[in-house]
Homo-oligomer: 217 residues x 2
DNA sequence: CAAAAATTCAAACAATCGTTTGATTTAAAC
DNA sequence: GTTTAAATCAAACGATTGTTTGAATTTTTG
């Protein structure tokens, strides 16, 4: 990955974050990256391939880190389940840590990815399935074990809410500023993640402990 | 609101849901609504005004319902705080109930609105501030009271996570199908809301009970 | 029924979209 | 230093974007 491609990726993160995949403009990306209009098609093939490359470039290392941390946690807990907070932390922290970086590129990436996940582009579903398949499988299993193997439906709802809360935090991080009336330090990602992990873990436990009318295992 | 305007609004919900505000096409909306291309500018003024109208048309009654329910709950609890689950339920249920409707229009509206909230269009921030200001104020106050008046930061984080989880559920409702491998009845909104309310309430309590390093009230 | 207002229509507006082309410049290989 | 290959460039491609226009049509009013 040469400097031109890097410049394009960084500009793409900002544009995709601001306007989504469909709304972002190739011309605006190249203008921001200070490269020629044809550079994107030359280096990446198409706008679609650029988006895919942008996602994989950032998300693959994060998922590797997640799996390694889960391996490590499962090993140190022997045959016992990994504590819930630990699992949630491993899912959330490596990703949301991208909210801090000297050039703010991570913030843009998270917003761009969050926005992409909501789009109806047909290639998106494939992209995220490719990226997340193994991670999803492993963490659903770990969560189920840690929660005492509740019904399949509960685990799915739980994983869903976990992803929703995390996705929302990615997309709406800037809203903290407005809601907090400037009294919240939005740069304190450590604090944000701590609170979010507590929120999600507590939520999962409460959900599992609640009796469900239509529950079958 | 005549039949042409109604047809346009319904078509707009689908298009905005699928492609976001920036990605949606006026031509596609009018084609789907089976009206002339000029109808949108004639009846609404602009694409932007159409989006605003679409949001207010659906969200204003929901917010009125929320405030009425909160009034009622506060009255029946005298000077005591309203139970947390009840408050969360009032925020979540009137909105997510839109996930069910014979013509699925509600699903599209929720996705369209969720997607819009993430966009950087300058008019969006104003629109949502106008819509949500009073509701936010009232429910932040009720939540704070019900949670035992924790620090301002905790309440803000809590309200933020609540909104994030709800937003995610709106945006990603169809993902339940995929994650649940077809074994989850995605049409069972009652069940979804029950689980979500339990998740959010449990999350909020856990968050408030967790000691915070940088906590000041 | 006639006059007036409201609505619908096809056509065109300038602007922008993603992509391609072919020439030109820069870098690498021998 | 000459030859290949890689990269950058301005220009143009056809298609689509949101919006406007002015005539034709429908609906309402007196």
């Amino acid at each position: 990955m040469n400097s031109t491609q890097k410049k394009i990726i960084e500009a793409a993160e900002i544009e995709f974050a601001d306007h989504g995949f469909g709304g972002a403009s190739i011309r605006e990306i190249t203008r921001r990256a200070d490269v020629n209009i044809a550079a994107i098609n030359y280096h990446f093939g198409s706008k679609e391939d650029l988006f895919k490359e942008m996602v994989r470039y950032r998300i693959d290392p994060i998922n590797e880190e997640r799996l390694a941390l889960l391996d490590q946690a499962e090993e140190s807990n022997k045959a016992k389940p990994v504590p819930l907070e630990e699992i949630v932390d491993i899912i959330v922290r490596p990703l949301l840590n991208k909210l801090i970086s000297e050039d703010q590129a991570g913030v843009h990436f998270l917003r761009a990815m969050g926005k992409g996940m909501g789009e109806e582009q047909s290639f998106m579903k494939d992209l995220f399935e490719d990226c997340m398949q193994e991670v999803l499988r492993r963490f659903i299993q770990a969560l189920s074990f840690s929660l005492g193997k509740p019904s399949f439906a509960k685990v799915v709802y739980g994983m869903h809410f976990l992803a929703c809360a995390m996705l929302g935090a990615m997309l709406q991080h800037t809203r903290l500023e407005y809601m907090g009336q400037g009294k919240i330090d939005t740069g304190n990602v450590e604090e944000l993640v701590d609170q979010l992990v507590a929120f999600i873990s507590g939520g999962l436990k409460a959900m599992v402990n609640m009796p469900s009318k239509t529950d079958t295992r």
